[in-house]
């Protein structure tokens, strides 16, 4: 059992949530790769076999975290389909900004557009993400239990 988590972050919130996912994975005996989107080669998505979780925040009125801009753009410009990819997006943002979780939305839409399979509806978390994360986490692991055939 293995999953990959790619996070895109500016101030560390998404990275912190990725760490929480990793902790839970260890507890559940699931192997996990945690990767920073800023340094990720988008082309590798095509060959990714395990389920993918993308955790990404929104900056500057809909833009990605500045550190991930290049990778993000590359993904958005991509045209070759990703039919084998199975994924879900966890978007971070703040409802006080007009374009709430825009970046997560865009990624989610683009992956769907490229033919990837959405394993779980995207979740948008606002400023209360430290609390609301828990509900999402439960749904996420329930979904994985299904994927890995652990469901009771």
């Amino acid at each position: 059992m293995k999953i990959t988590v790619i996070y895109g972050t500016e101030t560390g919130n998404c990275k912190g949530l990725a760490a929480k996912v990793a902790k839970k994975a260890a507890k559940n005996g699931v192997d996990i790769d945690v990767i920073d989107l800023a340094t990720y080669d988008i082309d590798q998505l095509a060959s990714l076999e395990e389920p993918l979780l993308i955790i990404i925040s929104t900056w500057d009125d809909g833009a990605p975290p500045p550190k991930c801009e290049a990778t993000f753009n590359k993904l958005m410009e991509r045209e070759e389909p990703l039919p084998d990819l199975r994924y879900t997006v966890l978007a971070l943002g703040d409802t006080e900004y007009p374009l709430f979780c825009e970046c997560g939305r865009k990624i989610d839409a683009q992956l769907a557009e490229l033919g990837a399979t959405r394993l779980l509806e995207r979740t948008d978390l606002g400023a209360e993400f430290m609390v609301t994360y828990i509900g999402w986490s439960k749904r996420f692991w329930k979904m994985l239990a299904g994927v890995f055939g652990k469901a009771a």
Partner: protein, 1195 residues
């Protein structure tokens, strides 16, 4: 004057505090301490000596305990001495006042001890850290004996006499000397040896002291409560002891004279043996007065004399009368304190009564009753000069002398001041002087201390050094006053005629008055990067004129060039020091250079041979760059005056702030000042300090408009604005702008503008700018100021004129908050300060209804230390209202402000309801239902009510008008540092939080007493070295948040702005909206941590990442919602705490000095982090009932 080399002698060079501390330490066993300016260094030295294992007279190592307040110190000292151990302490001002209750006890119980006081003003209409006798005069009724010292030598000597006499007499002693003038003056003195000190101590008295201790081996009880039948008689039982004190003190003084040759009397007389006019006074002014009297007697044939009071309590009438020459006809008594409403100041009253007793009881030992007048001088370290002494004698000479006069100021309201002849001065025989102007950060003061030390060690000259600082925490002006000569230097006033003036910063020329105090034919040295041929022409007319008229020798050096070429960056102090030695002839230059190098070795040796070599290379290179400038016969530049304040400024700013900024505050008369301690806000904008040599410059293309630079700017010197593109039509050339990117961006432009003369150049904005372009340049980068200043000033002027887009006042994101006007700007805080952004945020969030109670400390100094005030107001004239009461009482004071505004709000609401028929019932009902957020709507309604009320007759209407503005509730914030919140003010803070009142507390936690120079507090963490924790703090930091959370009904949060801006903002808003007490603890990295403040926000982040400073919130409101009451806002530690700690010198320094202890404490620190994190996580989990994951399919 090439002096002869020093002979073997006990002579040393010290400041008053060190001279006193050395004696107090050696004569004590247990010492309790607390920091307060200007006494702090005495306590610090004792702590250091104890940490180093230095012994006292009995070869034991005194132990030092830091307490939470001076009240605590006095209580501890009471216990220590009742327990039979020798004790002492050091304090001043408010600190001494806090000791008073115990002083009565200690004296009533006849328990020996000595309190050394560097006498300082008491906060009245304003706080003053400076010297006068207001504090000690408030203790004259406590029963302490009081001894006054008038110089550094005397401070040491009378410290010894106090410690000996208290044992012999059993009466406790308060030994005092003038704050700053004596405590911080460096002067030559003869060291008093252990042998002499031991000899002074009465062995029998010491034995009896030990015997009297409270002990179960010979049980007694103390501190009983007595009834009317007994208290009075028992109180009188002390009389015989007080009677003995003068005899004992004089005997101790005589014994001291036998041992040292320095003889003192209860009252010492200086001057003409047949003097007719006599001044009676005490403190450092005595030396000025005595020297002036001697000079006048010698040069003008006068018959003047001075009586110096040494033993002020018990006041011995007989000794006083005997000290007066029989010929005295009139006396002026000078008090350095003010007692409004009394018949006269305390010393004046004492002298009056003594004379009255003399003529009645002592058989008319004076042939006639002298005329008597009294006056005040030197309050709050106001200069007291020979000219003022002469003015006092002139007053005595006049036919109708002014009584109750003041000298040193111009009182044009009650006309009590004496005029003095500003040109009068007395020459100090055989002495040279030198004045140096530098910046707080440029090392000028340090180099001059070293110069004085070199002269003191290398020659047999007597030396004196005194340093004047302005009150800014960065970029402040320092003036060093150095004198040395063949005779002891008795001139406790600033240099009036200097042989040498050194200007260490080119920007001072023409702005700082440096030449009015230079002697005819003196030497003027300027550090400047201007070419030697150009220098003359670069000087303003007035400077040129002074140089020509005074026939000065003008020298220049490009010290920055020398420093740069020898790899020293901008460290110019030793280079300037070499030039001084070369231009003065006090030492052979070669000799001076080799001594400078020796001290470089000593100072920088630990930093490695490379640093030492670099410094030495700079020293060697310096003289080749030193050039003399030929002086033309006439000034070549036309006169031009400096505009200190723009013409558009308000009248007060022009009348008062202007002169203060120009260094002319001393000339302002009494009538210039607002009464009752009130000062207008919004004045820092006129200061334009221009202390940065490089400022950030904005690159519109690269910028992502995140506004972080503005958000973190400690001085509010970077501001963003969104405006209509059409505004740009009138933009000046070079004004930078870009299209706004954000909601509703069409036709909107965006600019980030730096305030070039208000920026302090801290570099924090550059460090945290997240946007870089392809070349790796950030959207904001530092550039030299000089070439761009005019452009930036022009841009700024335009920027300030542009009408900004209104932003939704209910939204407060990290990005949008920076668009709101800061109502706290350009303070005098340190460059890179991490506390000021928190305060600025408060002003941006709640500024127009913000009431701040500010504990004494850094935030009260940068918040309200003249000359200017950083709190300012918005376009409607509203803004933060700010006040400082004291250090210890801030929570209570803030509660009072809150209760008062709440009372007025409630009264207004009630009156409004009572008057609703007259005002308009519907409007009143509407008003009462406006949500508290909608302040604009409320204000509009209030204006309507006001117009209507003005037409309604009756007392209720009048009363409502008086309270009307309180219909908008005020937001009370109680702000202060950790010294206040964790230590001295904790009891009050705890109580105020427990009252349930709707007040908000913001603790600016720098983990040390920052304002007094970095002493340990209970917020100081394990492993940190601080002053008063020279060994490294062992115990953990107190968990203030946990204590407050234990009440249950208090909103509590920990924030660290650089780690999470949004959480900081959310917390401040939640705290404010919580209808009950809130406590917000903000992490504030500080210079005292031994860090580079340009990385302040990064330090905050690292503190959070390592779990050293977890972010959390405890919001009692959530008990009724889905959200947990307690929640963690930061993630599990991702780096070991060592990664955080070892990047800061406060922790690293211990590793260097004591690696074993450092690693032990580091281990403990990690254990503390781990256990706290586990505890907090458990608390957070407990609040989230659905955090169990039983039902997610994974078991």
């Amino acid at each position: 004057m090439i002096a002869t080399p020093a002979a073997e002698s006990p002579r040393i060079t010290r400041d008053g505090n060190e001279a006193v501390a050395s004696v107090a330490y050696r004569m004590s066993e247990l010492i309790s301490i607390y920091p307060i300016t200007p006494s702090t260094s005495m306590a610090e030295l004792c702590d250091e000596w104890s940490a180093q294992g230095k012994p006292n007279l009995w070869d034991e190592i005194p132990q030092v305990s830091q307490m939470q307040s001076e009240g605590g110190v006095a209580g501890t000292m009471h216990g220590i001495t009742m327990g039979g151990t020798l004790s002492t302490t050091f304090t001043a001002s408010q600190g001494l006042l806090l000791m008073i209750p115990n002083m009565y006890k200690l004296a009533g119980e006849l328990t020996p001890n000595v309190i050394h006081v560097s006498a300082r003003a008491i906060a009245t209409n304003a706080l003053s850290i400076f010297g006068d006798h207001s504090d000690v005069m408030a203790c004259r009724q406590t029963g302490y004996a009081m001894l006054a010292s008038n110089s550094v030598q005397e401070a040491q000597d009378l410290a010894a006499i106090s410690h000996a006499a208290t044992l012999s007499s059993r009466v406790p002693f308060l030994h005092f000397f003038d704050g700053f003038r004596t405590s911080h003056e460096i002067n030559s003195l003869d060291y008093v040896s252990n042998e002499t000190l031991l000899d002074l101590i009465d062995d029998k008295a010491l034995d009896e002291y030990y015997q009297r201790a409270l002990t179960p081996d010979a049980p007694t009880v103390r501190g009983t409560a007595q009834n009317p039948d007994t208290y009075f008689q028992a109180r009188e039982a002390v009389n015989s002891f007080y009677k003995e004190v003068p005899t004992i003190v004089q005997a101790t003084m005589d014994r001291f004279a036998e041992k040292t040759g320095r003889s003192y009397k209860l009252f010492d007389y200086y001057g003409h043996p047949e003097a007719e006019k006599v001044i009676v006074m005490m403190g450092s002014g005595v030396e000025t007065a005595a020297e002036t009297a001697a000079w006048l007697n010698q040069n003008q044939g006068t018959k003047y004399g001075i009586v110096a009071v040494r033993l002020y309590r018990p006041f011995n009438t007989k000794a006083f009368i005997h000290s007066l020459p029989k010929t005295v006809k009139s006396i002026a008594v000078l008090d350095r304190t003010k007692e409004p409403g009394s018949i006269g100041e305390p010393l004046y009253l004492d002298v009056t009564f003594a004379l009255r007793k003399a003529s009645r009881c002592l058989n008319n030992c004076l042939p006639h009753d002298p005329e008597l007048i009294g006056g005040r001088y030197g309050i709050g370290s106001k200069e007291f000069t020979p000219a003022m002494v002469k003015a006092v004698f002139d007053n005595l000479e006049s036919e109708t002398p002014k009584d109750h006069f003041t000298v040193g100021i111009r009182d044009d309201v009650t006309n009590q001041s004496l005029d003095w002849d500003k040109s009068f001065t007395i020459q100090i025989a055989n002495a040279q002087s030198a004045l140096f102007f530098g910046l707080g950060s440029d090392g000028t003061v340090g180099a001059n201390k070293n110069t004085i030390k070199i002269i003191g060690e290398a020659t047999d000259l007597y030396t004196q050094a005194y340093f004047v600082y302005d009150s800014k925490k960065s970029g402040g002006l320092t003036t060093s006053h150095l004198r040395f000569g063949a005779d002891p230097i008795k001139a406790p006033y600033l240099i009036e005629e200097s042989d040498f003036v050194g200007c260490h910063q080119p920007q001072f020329v023409g702005r700082v008055d440096m030449l009015s105090k230079i002697a005819q034919g003196g030497t003027f040295l300027i550090n400047t990067s201007t070419d030697a041929d150009e220098v003359w022409h670069s000087l303003p007319h007035d400077v040129q004129e002074a140089i020509i008229e005074k026939q000065l020798k003008l020298h220049v050096i490009d010290a920055y060039k020398v420093a740069g070429e020898s790899g020293m960056g901008r460290r110019i102090n030793t280079i300037m020091q070499v030039c001084y030695f070369a231009l003065s002839d006090v030492l052979p230059t070669e000799d001076a250079i080799s001594r400078i190098k020796t001290s470089i070795e000593k100072t920088y040796g630990r930093k490695g041979p490379k640093i030492v070599a670099m410094n030495c290379a700079a020293v060697d290179a310096a003289l080749a760059f030193l050039k003399q400038i030929k002086i033309p016969e006439k000034p070549t530049n036309a006169p031009a005056s400096i505009e200190w304040i723009p013409d558009s400024a308000p009248d007060f700013v022009k009348r008062v702030t202007g002169p203060l900024l120009a260094g002319q505050g001393d000339l302002l008369p009494v009538s210039a000042f607002p009464i009752g301690g009130v000062w207008p806000s919004s004045t820092s904008q006129y200061e334009k300090r221009s202390i940065a040599s490089a400022i950030p410059v904005w690159d519109a293309e690269t910028c992502t408009q995140c506004n972080k630079c503005s958000l973190f700017c400690p001085h509010a010197a970077i501001r963003p604005k969104i405006y209509c593109e059409s505004e740009l039509e009138n933009a000046p050339q070079g004004f930078k702008s870009t299209a706004y990117n954000g909601p509703g961006a069409e036709d909107k432009a965006f600019t980030i503008q730096v305030y070039p003369q208000d920026c302090t150049g801290c570099n924090a904005c550059v460090e945290l700018c997240p946007a870089t372009n392809a070349d790796g340049r950030r959207a904001i980068e530092m550039e030299q100021l000089a070439p761009i200043l005019d452009q930036e000033k022009e841009s700024l002027a335009f920027f300030q004129e542009i009408a900004e887009q209104t932003i939704d006042p209910t939204i407060a994101t990290a990005k949008s908050i920076a668009l709101r006007q800061p109502l706290f700007e350009f303070s005098g805080a340190c460059s890179g300060c991490t506390q000021t952004p928190y305060i600025r945020l408060l002003s941006q969030l709640f500024g127009d209804r913000l009431l701040i109670a500010n504990a004494t400390g850094c935030s009260s100094i940068y918040g309200g230390n003249l000359p200017t005030t950083p709190y300012c107001s918005d376009a409607n004239g509203r803004g933060p209202a700010w006040a400082n009461s004291l250090f210890e009482d801030n929570a209570e004071f803030g509660l009072g402000l809150h209760l008062s505004s709440k009372w007025r709000s409630e009264t207004a609401r009630t009156l409004l309801q009572n008057l609703d028929q007259d005002i308009g019932p519907e409007e009143v009902t509407d008003f009462l239902s406006i949500p508290s957020k909608d302040i604009d709507k409320k204000r509009k309604a209030i204006e309507t009510f006001r117009t209507r009320l003005q037409k309604i007759k009756g007392s209720k209407s009048t009363r409502l008008l008086q309270h009307l503005d309180y219909l908008v509730e005020k937001s009370t914030w109680i702000v202060g540092g950790d010294g206040w919140a964790y230590d001295i003010g904790f009891g009050g803070l705890d109580h105020v939080l427990a009252t349930g009142a709707n007040v908000n507390v913001l603790v600016l936690d720098t983990e040390v007493y920052s304002n007094t120079g970095g002493q340990s507090s209970k917020a100081t963490p394990t492993g940190a070295q601080a002053k008063f924790a020279a060994k490294g703090k062992e115990l953990p930091k107190k968990d203030l948040g946990q204590i407050a959370m234990s009440y249950g009904g208090i909103y509590v949060a920990q924030i660290a702005f650089g780690a999470n801006e949004q959480q900081t903002l959310d917390v401040l808003r939640e705290a404010e909206s919580y209808q009950g007490p809130s406590l917000v603890i903000g992490y504030g990295p500080c210079l005292a941590h031994g860090i580079d403040l340009s990385h302040g926000p990064a330090r905050q982040k690292s503190a959070v990442d390592s779990g050293y400073w977890p972010l959390y919130r405890f919001d009692p409101r959530n008990a009724d919602s889905d959200l947990p009451v307690f929640r963690l806002d930061s993630f599990a530690p991702s780096i070991p705490v060592a990664d955080f700690m070892l990047n800061e010198n406060r922790f690293r320094s211990l590793e260097r000095s004591n690696p074993e202890r450092a690693s032990l404490l580091l281990e403990r620190a990690q254990a503390q982090v781990d256990s706290r994190w586990a505890r907090l996580e458990a608390m957070a989990a407990a609040g989230l009932e659905d955090d169990d994951d039983e039902d997610d399919g994974w078991g």
